[in-house]
Amino acid sequence: MKKFLFVNPEKCSGCRICETVCSLHHEKVCNPAHARIQVVKWESSGLYIPMVCQQCEDPICETVCPMNAVYRDEKSRAVLINYELCVGCKLCVTHCPFGGVILGIDGQIKKCDLCDGDPMCVKNCEPNALQFVDATTINFLKRKSAAQKFSELMLKLLSVT
C-alpha cells in the first residue's frame, strides 16, 4: 500500500519539533535552516501551516531537471535527488509550487526523503498534524472530518425542529 505524508494544519501547534528533528536526523545538527519541512506561521492570527514536499505523482522537479537527477525511490515512494547527477542549477527549487525542494545553507539542493519510509517528523509530532498513512486512510480521514461538520449541522437543525 502506498503511504503518504499527510499534513493537517488544524492540528499543528507550531512547536517546530518537526524542523529540528529533520535537521538532527539528516545533518546531525540542530538548525531549522537545514530542515526539509518548515512550519509557516502567521503569528498574529495564530495560523500555522507545515510545508513539505508533496511527493507529487508527476513531479515538476523531475520534469524541469535538465540532468535527470530526480527519481522516485521504489521502496519508500519518495522523490529523491541523485547527487552524482545534480549540478545545483536550482530549477527544481524555482519551479516547485510548495517550496518542497530547498536550497540548503551549505549550497546543496535538499528535499524530504521520507526518512527511508519512517519519517522522523511524523514520529515526533505529538498533535498528529503530520501523519504517514496509506491512501484509504487519508480518504477516510477527510471524509470523517467533513462528516463531523455535517453531523454537527444536522444536530443543530434537528434541535431547532
Binding site: 501547534s13 517546530r16 538548525n31 515526533n124
Partner: protein
C-alpha cells in the same frame, strides 16, 4: 561543541561590543541560563546599586540544552538586580527567541550601561549591532516585533521587547516575545526601559552541534513520550494551565477578593470548558510536545476583535477570582492588555485586588481613589488601571506603578496588612494556608513571593509515602496539610528548578505538576548526549545548590536576611473560611512554620539567619565568595 560557545558583552554607554567564550569550568559549575546569569549577577554588581541606573547589568542567557527538540527547550533566562524588590531579579521566558539567539551564534548576553537614545540590539549570524529605536518607542509589544521584522525584511526574526510599561519604568514591566510569552516577574522590562533598550532581536542559521546526535534524537523522542504520557500533560494539551482552576476552586486553595475567601462561588464561567467558545487551537513553544496555550479569538465587546494566546491560570486568578469577576471575557481582555503594554499579569492583578480591598475597607483617600469605582468585580476599572499603571497616568496609576512597598508607605501603615506580598513582590492567587510546603516555598524564594522557584505541586496529590520517599530521598507525610518532611520537598524542588532554568527546558516538563516526568537522572543523560559533559545526578544537585546559594549571597549582600523570609501576617491570623473539610479552618501555625524554615536552611547548609556557612561554600566550590575576575 555545544558548551563551548560565545558570550557577547554589550555596553550601551560606550557602544562597545566584545566577544568571549564560555569556559568549561563555568559550564560544569553553572550549566547556562539562570546558573551562569547568577554567577555574573553576583560578580559584576557591587552592593546596593540603583537598579534603574547604568550600573545595573542585564543578563540574557540561553540554557545549555536550548534548541533540542524536546521538553520545551526553547527557553532563556533574563536577570538583573530587580527594580521591584531590590533582590535577585530573574525571569524565564519560552517561545522562540532563545533558540534563534543560539542559531545567531550567542548563548549569553551581558548588557551594561545606558544608551543616550532609544535603541535595539540586532544580532545576526555572529554579528551584533546597536541600532536606533526612535521609531519603535511608544509602540506596543506586538507592533514592535513586526516593525523590527519590517526593518530587516525578514519575517523569521525573533525579538525580546518591552511595551509602554517598560518605557515608563513601571517596576514590574516585563519582557515579551511572540503573542504571549513573557519573562514576567521581577521587572526585567523596567531594567530594559531604564537602559533605553526597546528590544533585542535575533536571526541566525548557525548550526548547534551535539556530541551524539543520533542518540540524542532518539532520547529526545523518549523524553517527549515520557511527558506526554503523563495525565497532567494530557490535560494541559487540551485545557492549558486553566485546568488547575477546576481543582483549586473545588478544594478551596484559591484566593478570592484578594485574601478574603478561598473559593469563588458561582465561578462556573471561569471553568476551562468555557474557553471552547473562543479557542481555535492550541499553541506550543519551541520544542514542546505539550502545547499548553490556547489560541483564542474574542469577537465581541469594546476591545474586539482580539486574537491572543493564553490565558494562563495566573491571569484567570489576577483578573477573575482575586477581583471577584466571574467572566472569562474579562480575563481575555485583561490578558490582551497586559501583553500589549508589557506588564506582569500577576503583579498588576495582585496590586489591583489589594487596592479594591483597601477601597472596600475605606482606607483610601479621595486623592488616591481618583474618581474611580474600585468595587469588586468592576472589570472596566481593571482595564483602566492596567492602562493607567502602564502609562503612569494619574496619581493612583503612577503610585501603583512603583509596586507594593512604595505604595504601602504612601497609602499608610494600615494598608500593609492587606498587601499579599513577600519581599515586595505579589504572590500567585493560590491560598497556601492549608499547605505548609507551598507556604514555605513562597516565603523563602530568592525573588520574592513566587510559585516557580520551589513549589512542590505534587504534594497536593496525596501520593503514596513510599513514592514520595523514592523521589525526595527521605520519609515525609503524604498529607498536604502536614508539616512533616515538607522542608525537604521544597529544598529538592528548588534544586531541580534551578537546574531546569539553567538547561533551558520547561518547568512543566519536569517534576512540577507531573509525577513521572524527567528529572535529574534524565537531565544528566540529555546533557551527556548533547554535550559530552558527564554530570551525574549528585553533581547536578550540587549545581542547583550552588545556584541557589549564589542567589542567597546576592540577597544577603543587599541586606536581606531571615526576617525577609516571612509570610504576610494574614496567613497566621485568618483561618480559611471555605473549602473541603481538610482545607477549611486552616491557618499557618507559627511555631511549626519556624521549624520548617530552620530545617530548610539546614538542608541548604545555611546558618539560622539564612547565611551560607563557610563549610557550605567550600563544599560547593565557591570558597572565596566568587572572584571578581570574570
Amino acid at each position: 561543541m555545544v558548551w563551548n560557545r560565545k558570550i557577547a558583552q554589550i555596553d550601551l554607554t560606550s557602544n562597545s561590543i566584545n566577544f568571549k567564550s564560555i569556559s568549561k569550568s563555568l559550564r560544569t559549575q553553572f550549566l547556562g541560563g539562570r546558573g551562569i546569569n547568577m554567577y555574573y549577577l553576583y560578580n559584576l554588581l557591587p552592593a546596593r546599586i540603583d537598579p534603574l541606573g547604568p550600573d545595573n547589568v542585564l543578563l540574557i542567557g540561553t540554557g545549555l540544552l536550548t534548541g533540542i527538540p524536546a521538553l520545551g527547550a526553547g527557553r532563556c533566562d533574563i536577570a538583573a538586580k530587580s527594580p521591584l524588590t531590590g533582590a535577585v531579579g530573574d525571569s524565564n521566558i519560552g517561545g522562540f527567541f532563545a533558540p534563534e539567539l543560539r542559531f545567531a551564534g550567542f548563548d549569553h548576553l551581558i548588557i551594561t550601561g545606558k544608551a543616550t537614545n532609544p535603541c535595539y540590539i540586532w544580532i545576526n549570524n555572529g554579528e551584533i549591532e546597536i541600532r536606533d529605536a526612535i521609531h519603535l518607542w511608544g509602540k506596543d509589544t506586538f507592533e514592535t516585533q513586526e516593525l523590527i521584522r519590517a526593518d530587516h525584511n525578514d519575517e523569521q526574526i525573533k525579538s525580546l521587547v518591552i511595551g509602554e510599561a517598560g518605557e515608563n519604568l513601571v517596576r514590574y514591566a516585563n519582557v515579551r516575545t511572540g503573542m504571549k510569552n513573557a519573562a514576567g516577574r521581577t521587572g526585567m522590562g523596567c531594567v530594559m526601559g531604564a537602559k533605553n533598550l526597546k528590544a533585542i532581536s535575533a536571526r541566525g542559521t548557525i548550526d548547534l552541534e551535539f556530541t551524539y546526535p543520533d542518540q540524542l534524537l532518539d532520547y529526545c523522542s523518549q523524553m517527549n513520550n515520557m511527558i506526554t504520557g503523563s495525565r497532567w500533560a494530557k490535560a494541559q494539551s487540551k485545557w492549558g494551565t486553566l485546568i488547575i482552576y477546576s481543582n483549586t476552586n473545588t478544594t478551596g486553595l484559591i484566593r478570592t477578593r484578594n485574601f478574603q475567601l478561598n473559593r469563588l462561588e458561582n465561578g462556573e464561567n471561569l471553568e476551562p470548558e468555557v474557553m471552547d467558545e473562543y479557542t481555535i487551537g492550541m499553541s506550543g513553544c519551541y520544542g514542546c510536545s505539550v502545547h499548553c496555550r490556547h489560541r483564542y479569538i474574542l469577537k465581541e465587546g469594546p476591545y474586539a476583535p482580539i486574537f491572543g494566546e493564553g490565558p494562563e491560570y495566573t491571569s484567570l486568578g489576577a483578573f477573575g477570582t482575586m477581583i471577584d469577576c466571574k467572566k472569562m471575557e474579562t480575563v481575555l481582555v485583561a490578558n490582551h492588555l497586559v501583553n500589549k503594554y508589557g506588564i506582569d499579569t500577576l503583579e498588576v492583578g495582585g496590586i489591583i485586588a489589594w487596592i479594591m480591598e483597601l477601597y472596600e475597607k475605606n482606607l483610601l483617600s479621595e486623592k488616591l481613589i481618583d474618581g474611580l469605582n474600585l468595587s469588586w468585580g468592576n472589570e472596566e476599572v481593571v482595564y483602566e488601571l492596567i492602562k493607567r499603571i502602564s502609562r503612569r497616568e494619574g496619581y493612583l496609576g503612577n503610585l501603583l506603578a512603583d509596586g507594593f512597598l512604595p505604595s504601602i508607605s504612601k497609602i499608610g501603615k494600615e494598608s500593609e496588612y492587606y498587601a499579599m506580598q513577600i519581599k515586595g513582590m505579589s504572590n500567585l492567587h493560590s491560598d497556601e494556608r492549608p499547605t505548609p510546603s507551598l507556604a514555605l516555598g513562597i516565603a523563602t524564594s530568592t525573588r520574592g513571593a513566587d510559585h516557580l522557584r520551589s513549589r512542590p505541586a505534587i504534594d497536593l496529590y496525596g501520593l503514596p509515602e513510599d513514592l514520595l520517599e523514592e523521589i525526595y530521598g527521605a520519609p515525609m507525610s503524604s498529607d498536604y496539610t502536614s508539616y512533616k518532611g515538607k522542608s525537604r520537598m521544597v529544598w529538592w524542588q528548588e534544586l531541580l528548578y534551578a537546574v531546569t532554568d539553567s538547561i533551558g527546558t520547561c518547568k512543566f516538563q519536569t517534576v512540577f505538576c507531573a509525577v513521572h516526568a524527567p528529572k535529574f537522572e534524565e537531565f544528566s543523560k540529555l546533557i551527556d548526549l548533547a554535550t559530552g559533559l558527564k554530570i551525574s545526578k549528585p553533581l547536578l544537585m550540587e549545581i542547583g545548590e550552588r545556584i541557589i546559594t549564589v542567589e542567597r549571597m546576592f540577597n544577603n549582600r543587599e541586606g536581606f536576611t531571615r526576617k525577609d523570609d516571612k509570610l504576610p501576617e494574614r496567613f497566621f491570623k485568618e483561618p480559611t473560611p471555605l473549602g473541603f473539610p481538610i482545607v477549611k479552618g486552616k491557618k499557618i501555625e507559627e511555631e511549626k512554620f519556624t521549624k520548617l524554615i530552620d530545617e530548610y536552611y539546614h538542608l541548604h547548609g545555611w546558618n539560622n539567619n539564612g547565611i551560607p556557612s563557610d563549610e557550605t561554600l567550600k563544599k560547593i566550590g565557591i570558597e572565596n565568595k566568587l572572584q571578581k575576575n570574570v
